[in-house]
């Protein structure tokens, strides 16, 4: 949640103005055909308009009524278009901010990178937009990185605050996991860039309906067809009953019944969902991924950096028998002086604070032994003293004997979830340093919230099972994978998926790529490698793994908003029947006045009020569609009960009140 970008106001003046114009542009039936409910509304609006013209020409006195109905039917369409346009406008504003990074980038394209005669750094200045896949560019201090790419030579500190909002610079270097750089663009084979593709999703230009949106559209289309049947067959039934009704009111009934509310807001809800994700600095490659996020059953979280702070801190010096704490502390201090890792620095700090050392001078003869992944040992050679510090098994392999109390201390540390670090001098074990994982303060309550959502959390760590169990217990995760290798993650994901569960994970390294691709929601870190980013279906610009939790909530919110507004839309119909049916037939059967329970002023005012309510409710619900129905981690049953009450029961009652109020207004100003 670290860098939430401020959302533009719900009805930002500029966005609203543009959306109002777009609403008219979207009247093009070819564009509306994507949305069957609104398309039908537009078609029948045109029919009523034709009747209005006829009434006008014939001067039969019906023009005032049919004109108003026609106007409100068009408003219904326009309001639906407006909702979509506002959502798109907000998405565009977001996208423009992202895009600003690339508009003024220039690239220094290397002319001949293979040149051996010292001319390989000669470049030409080109626009960042002209770069092609495979081009090599030079970036120097002060340059903007022109596009997404891979560092193939050199190392630099890069300020990525433009996209991540994180002011601390990050290191980018050739080889390894931190070789990817992002500019405004990624030069990809399909010609559109990574960020561009995602921007397009927010803007709605390339938006395709997501699977669930498609299924919902089918439900809505089905309902539309059912109500078409109801209204068309009502025509002969009315004639039989001696109550000839005009096509205009029949169409008014149809538009009131078909789910225009959810039909009009459906695409706005989808765009707003993507937009919310972007505001959390997460970009998804598809809307499908956002929906899948709502369905996630299991979260795979790396321990380091997600559950615990990235680095472990020295917490205690435990010397073996016969070595004083002071002597041990000094050896540890000397062995760590040249160690610039956070662990190394924490040892120095502990030696100073706990044992009162001041920074000693290693002297001229000191030989620094840097840490290598191969030996897993570092240290220093001083005259007559060979100090080594490192992983317990690595150091233990180099000493002659291992005291019992050393082993006991190591075991105690491991059981407590710490990391033991052994220190030796001239091949003799001096003791063990207790490095501790510090669990992030709020993480336990967030896992509890996830559990309430029905999402299981699994911690992945390279630690041994004992250590892992201790940290898992302290952090409150449901399960853990200890001593995890990349293939373990993949295997775990496959196993869970076999059991019918959906998995989300985040990762950054190239070795995470297979697991990211296998996971249903794979969030790649912005700082990760290109391979990782291509494998996942979301990229987190902040590289904050805890954001998986927000991503799940956003996915759920998207689906909930759709469901709630659908329920509301359908429930609304009941009241509209009670307004329109007596109005249609009260002349033929005066007895039907009994079901005019709202006591609406006149048949015409009843029909007009229902149509006006139907149009205005779209506008009224735009804020909810854009913000989304609030999600609470309280479990499905409680959530359903709550939403059924608000949107089901509320949807049943609200229109009775709304239509009555509109009727009072309509009859007061003699519109009908």
């Amino acid at each position: 949640m670290s860098h939430k970008v401020a959302a533009p106001g719900l009805f930002d003046a500029a966005i609203t103005k543009r959306a109002a114009i777009d609403a008219f542009r979207k009247l093009d039936p070819r564009r509306l055909a994507r949305n069957p409910v609104i398309f039908v509304t537009e078609a029948v609006s045109a029919v009523v308009t034709a009747f209005f013209v006829r009434d006008l020409v014939a001067q039969n006195g019906a023009a005032f009524f049919s004109g108003q109905i026609a106007a409100w039917l068009w408003f219904t369409v326009l309001f639906a278009n407006f909702a979509e346009a506002v959502a798109e406008g907000r998405g565009k504003a977001q996208a423009d901010a992202l895009r600003r990074t690339r508009s003024d980038s220039h690239a220094k394209r290397l002319i001949d990178p293979q040149d051996k005669s010292g001319m390989k750094d000669v470049y030409e200045g080109v626009s960042a937009l002209d770069l092609k896949l495979g081009d090599l560019v030079l970036v120097e201090a002060g340059d903007l990185i022109p596009g997404d790419g891979e560092v193939i030579e050199g190392v630099a500190s890069v300020n990525e605050s433009a996209i991540t909002g994180e002011s601390a610079p990050v290191i980018r270097e050739a080889g390894g996991d931190r070789s990817a750089v992002t500019g405004g663009t990624t030069v990809l084979s399909d010609g559109s860039t990574f960020i561009d593709r995602m921007i397009a999703l927010v803007e709605g230009a390339q938006r395709q309906k997501t699977p669930n949106e498609l299924a919902l559209s089918i439900l809505l289309s089905g309902l539309t067809i059912i109500f078409l049947i109801v209204c068309v067959t009502l025509w002969p039934l009315a004639i039989y009953s001696g109550a000839a009704i005009s096509v205009t009111v029949l169409i008014a009934l149809l538009v009131c019944l078909i789910p225009t509310t959810i039909g009009g807001l459906l695409s706005a809800i989808g765009i707003a969902g993507m937009d919310r994700l972007i505001r959390f600095n997460v970009i998804a490659t598809s809307g499908r991924a956002v929906e899948a996020a709502g369905d996630v059953d299991t979260l795979l979280l790396d321990k380091t950096g997600t559950i615990t702070f990235g680095n472990r801190m020295a917490d205690e010096f435990i010397p073996v028998e016969g070595v004083s704490e002071h002597a041990f502390g000094e050896a540890a201090l000397l062995a760590s002086l040249a160690d610039e890792t956070p662990e190394g620095r924490s040892i120095v700090a502990l030696a100073k604070s706990a044992l009162g050392f001041s920074t000693p001078d290693l002297g001229q003869e000191a030989q620094i032994v840097p840490f290598s992944a191969h030996t897993r040992i570092s240290g220093v050679d001083l005259p007559g003293r060979t100090l080594r510090k490192g992983a317990v098994d690595a150091v233990a392999a180099r000493v002659k004997s291992i005291p019992v109390d050393f082993e006991r201390a190591v075991e105690r540390i491991s059981r407590a979830g710490g990391t033991p670090l052994a220190v030796s001098e001239n091949g003799r074990l001096l003791g063990v340093i207790h490095l501790k994982d510090i669990i992030k303060p709020d993480i336990k309550s967030r896992f509890a919230a996830l559990r309430a959502m029905g999402v299981k959390t699994v911690m992945v760590t390279g630690d041994n099972p004992i250590t892992a169990a201790a940290i898992a217990g302290e952090a409150g995760v449901d399960d853990f994978i200890a001593q995890a290798k990349p293939e373990d993650k993949l295997a775990y994901i496959r196993k869970e998926q076999q059991g019918g569960r959906l998995i989300a994970m985040c990762g950054d390294g190239t070795n995470d790529a297979p697991a990211l691709a296998q996971a249903d929601v794979g969030v790649a870190m912005q700082t990760g490698t290109q391979a990782a980013r291509e494998a996942g279906n979301m990229v987190d610009l902040d590289s904050d793994p805890t954001k998986l939790i927000e991503i799940v909530a956003i996915g759920k919110q998207l689906l909930m908003t759709r469901g709630s507004l659908t329920t509301f839309s359908i429930a609304n119909d009941v009241a509209k029947y009670f307004a329109i049916i007596p109005a249609l037939f009260v002349v033929a059967y005066p007895e039907l006045e009994a079901i005019n329970i709202m006591k609406l002023a006149s048949p015409q005012s009843a029909i007009l009020s229902a149509v006006i309510f139907n149009a205005l409710i779209i506008i009224a619900l735009i804020p909810l569609a854009l913000k989304g129905v609030p999600y609470r981690p309280v479990g499905a049953a409680a959530l359903l009960r709550r939403n059924l009450l608000i949107y089901g029961l509320g949807g049943l009652i609200a229109p009775f009140i709304g239509i009555k109020l509109i009727d009072l207004a309509v009859s007061a100003v003699h519109l009908a």
């Binding site: 699977p211 669930n212 299924a215 919902l216 089918i218 439900l219 089905g222 059912i226 049947i229 109801v230 068309v232 067959t233 009502l234 002969p236 039934l237 004639i239 039989y240 009953s241 019944l257 929906e291 899948a292 709502g294 369905d295 059953d297 559990r451 309430a452 959502m453 299981k456 019918g500 569960r501 996915g555 759920k556 998207l558 689906l559 909930m560 469901g563 709630s564 659908t566 329920t567 359908i570 429930a571 119909d573 009941v574 029947y577 249609l584 037939f585 059967y589 007895e591 039907l592 009994a594 079901i595 479990g635 499905a636 049953a637 959530l639 359903l640 939403n643 059924l644 949107y647 089901g648």
Partner: protein, 569 residues
């Protein structure tokens, strides 16, 4: 309403539930192909059938093959029944020498029996030869019900299986449903009816002397056996024209209660069997409870409407305390008539023990609305369950979204394909009922069959198409159905209601069976508790109210208010 009446209703429904729970267990084992208590006796017979038909019971079918087998079976059944009627004059066992049945009536009747509707536009004793009755109609009473049960279980397998290409073998399901479920139960019920005084003889008629000394011929025959499968198979085609109101079909209150029990027990048992089949008893229980609530609500409204008597008659001094007794048997009374009416339309049975046409407007609204809902409380044999599950799929889809997940029912994700198929199925009912009603009221030939004008006439036509589409078969009466127009359109409505509905359902079965089964968590909302029951009820009421409110407003609703205002039609 009297406490005795309410107690009678309660006793019957309680007896249904008490029997349905173990019967559901048994049906589940039958359709899972497991051994059960009747296997020692029946499995040798079962094997003979398979050998004769050349069916390998171990070989399962995918949904398309299953559907094709079902359709082929129905087409052959339809064609043979049609031929039998048309050619009965040239065939044996035709002592009365009936001529061939006219084409339109033969079409209507064949469709009626193949689709488990048993709409009767003919007078049995004056139209059909013994051969037609026995070889044609009675056989279909069994196999059309068995087909329904088979299709329901094909859908149930869609839920219980995971990543399976097949949904069972139609021939096996058909055989086992008939042999293990319908046959033994109808023998028991038939014997019980005989004990209660229902005739069972091969004799054609007996001569009786009336009190005045006149001679009278009373038609009798193998009534009890016919009666048993009529109710158990939710068929509804009676031996006599007066159906279960006839004293030989249902001589007393006890036989009446037994018949209501018989028509409700298998549909309720099927709901419980569903729970067993998906390994979660509570799922079946939730559905059974929902069905029961809809049924009880219908019975309550009908009983309340009938027990109150007719206000117009009360005004002119008739004692309202016995209730509205027009068209009711004195030995049954309003309570048992209301229960029978709600049960026969809540299932797709269609047998009647009173004239629905003579019910009060709101009392008549109950059977009508029950059928407009597609008879899902508890529905026809098999048909009730699969009809109900389609509604559950739609309800779960909307509700599932509201908890923030891709909707899933019993671990099966409801996606575009399933939604498409479910909506296709759901569309058939309003299309058939409303379109045929709409066209009928516009045509002279449609209106000519009406005996009543105004809203009551509309109710009669609406009722006929609801009954046909729903494969119910009960008639509101007051409409002369045996005309070329109604014979044909009602026949088509039956066809649509059965096959156009069930083909998408079987496709859903195939789609679900092929899907993975998702694991449940706190995040998936439970489909077995009161919340789910409430949701189902809400969706059912709102969905059907929205579809039929205008038509009902012009029929029974306006009639009700008109009656209160002292106007009749």
């Amino acid at each position: 309403m009297t406490s005795i009446g309410l107690a009678q209703i309660a006793i019957v429904l309680l007896a249904v539930i008490v029997a349905a729970i173990p019967l559901g267990n048994y049906i589940a084992t039958v359709l899972a192909g497991e051994r059960n208590l009747l296997s020692p006796v029946l499995s040798p017979i079962e094997r003979v059938f398979y050998r004769l038909a050349g069916v390998d019971p171990a070989r399962e079918q995918n949904w398309l093959a299953y559907t094709m087998a079902m359709l082929a079976f129905s087409v052959v059944g339809f064609a043979s029944l049609y031929a039998l009627q048309r050619l009965q004059a040239y065939l044996p066992l035709n002592p009365q020498g009936f001529s061939g049945v006219p084409a339109d009536l033969a079409f209507n009747t064949s469709m009626s029996f193949v689709t488990n509707t048993n709409w009767q536009n003919y007078g049995g004793e004056s139209t059909m030869s013994h051969l037609t009755q026995m070889l044609g109609l009675t056989v279909h009473n069994f196999v059309s019900a068995a087909t329904g049960l088979a299709m329901a279980f094909a859908l149930v397998r869609g839920f219980s299986r995971a990543e399976s290409p097949t949904i069972g073998n139609f021939w096996v399901d058909l055989t086992r449903s008939t042999l293990y479920v319908l046959l033994p139960l109808s023998i028991i019920v038939a014997l019980a009816l005989v004990a209660l005084g229902v005739p069972q003889t091969l004799q054609g008629s007996i001569e009786a002397t009336t009190l005045e000394g006149a001679k009278q011929m009373l038609a009798i025959g193998p009534v009890a056996s016919q009666e048993a499968i009529k109710e158990l198979g939710t068929n509804g085609g009676g031996f006599f024209n007066a159906n279960s109101a006839h004293p030989f079909e249902s001589p007393n209150a006890l036989s009446n209660m037994l018949e209501i029990w018989a028509l409700l027990v298998i549909p309720f048992a099927t709901a419980f069997a569903f729970g067993h089949a998906v390994f979660d008893y509570r799922q079946g229980r939730a559905i059974a409870i929902t069905m029961m609530i809809v049924l009880v609500a219908g019975v309550s409204v009908a009983y309340w409407a009938e027990a109150g008597g007719n206000p117009l008659l009360t005004e002119i001094g008739v004692d309202p305390s016995p209730g509205n007794m027009e068209g009711k048997e004195v030995r049954f009374g309003p309570a048992m008539s209301a229960l029978f009416a709600a049960s026969t339309t809540g299932t797709s049975c269609g047998a009647v023990n009173a004239m629905h046409d003579s019910f009060m407007p709101l009392g008549g609204l109950v059977p009508l609305f029950n059928m407009l809902m597609g008879s899902i409380a508890p529905g026809g044999v098999g048909a009730g369950l699969y009809g109900f599950l389609v509604l559950a799929i739609i309800a779960v889809f909307i509700a599932g979204l509201m908890v923030g997940r891709t909707p899933e029912y019993l671990g099966k994700k409801i996606e575009t394909r399933e939604m498409k198929l479910a909506m296709l199925a759901v569309l058939i009912y309003p299309l058939s009922v409303l379109a045929f009603t709409g066209v009928s009221v516009m045509l002279q030939t449609g209106l000519a069959s009406l005996n009543n004008a105004g809203p009551h006439g509309l109710s009669e036509i609406l009722y006929a198409f609801a009954s046909a589409t729903d494969n119910n078969g009960s008639a509101f009466a007051g409409l002369t159905g045996n005309t070329p127009w109604y014979n044909t359109t009602l026949g088509v409505a039956m066809l649509l209601g059965r096959f156009a509905f069930v083909i998408p359902v079987l496709a859903i079965a195939g789609a679900f069976a092929a899907k993975k089964k998702g694991a449940a968590s706190v995040g998936t909302f439970p489909t077995h508790g009161p919340l789910f029951i409430g949701l189902l009820l809400g969706v059912i009421v709102v969905l059907y109210l929205l579809q039929y409110f205008p038509a009902l407003a012009l029929g029974p609703i306006v009639e009700h208010f008109a009656l209160l205002a002292g106007k009749t039609f």
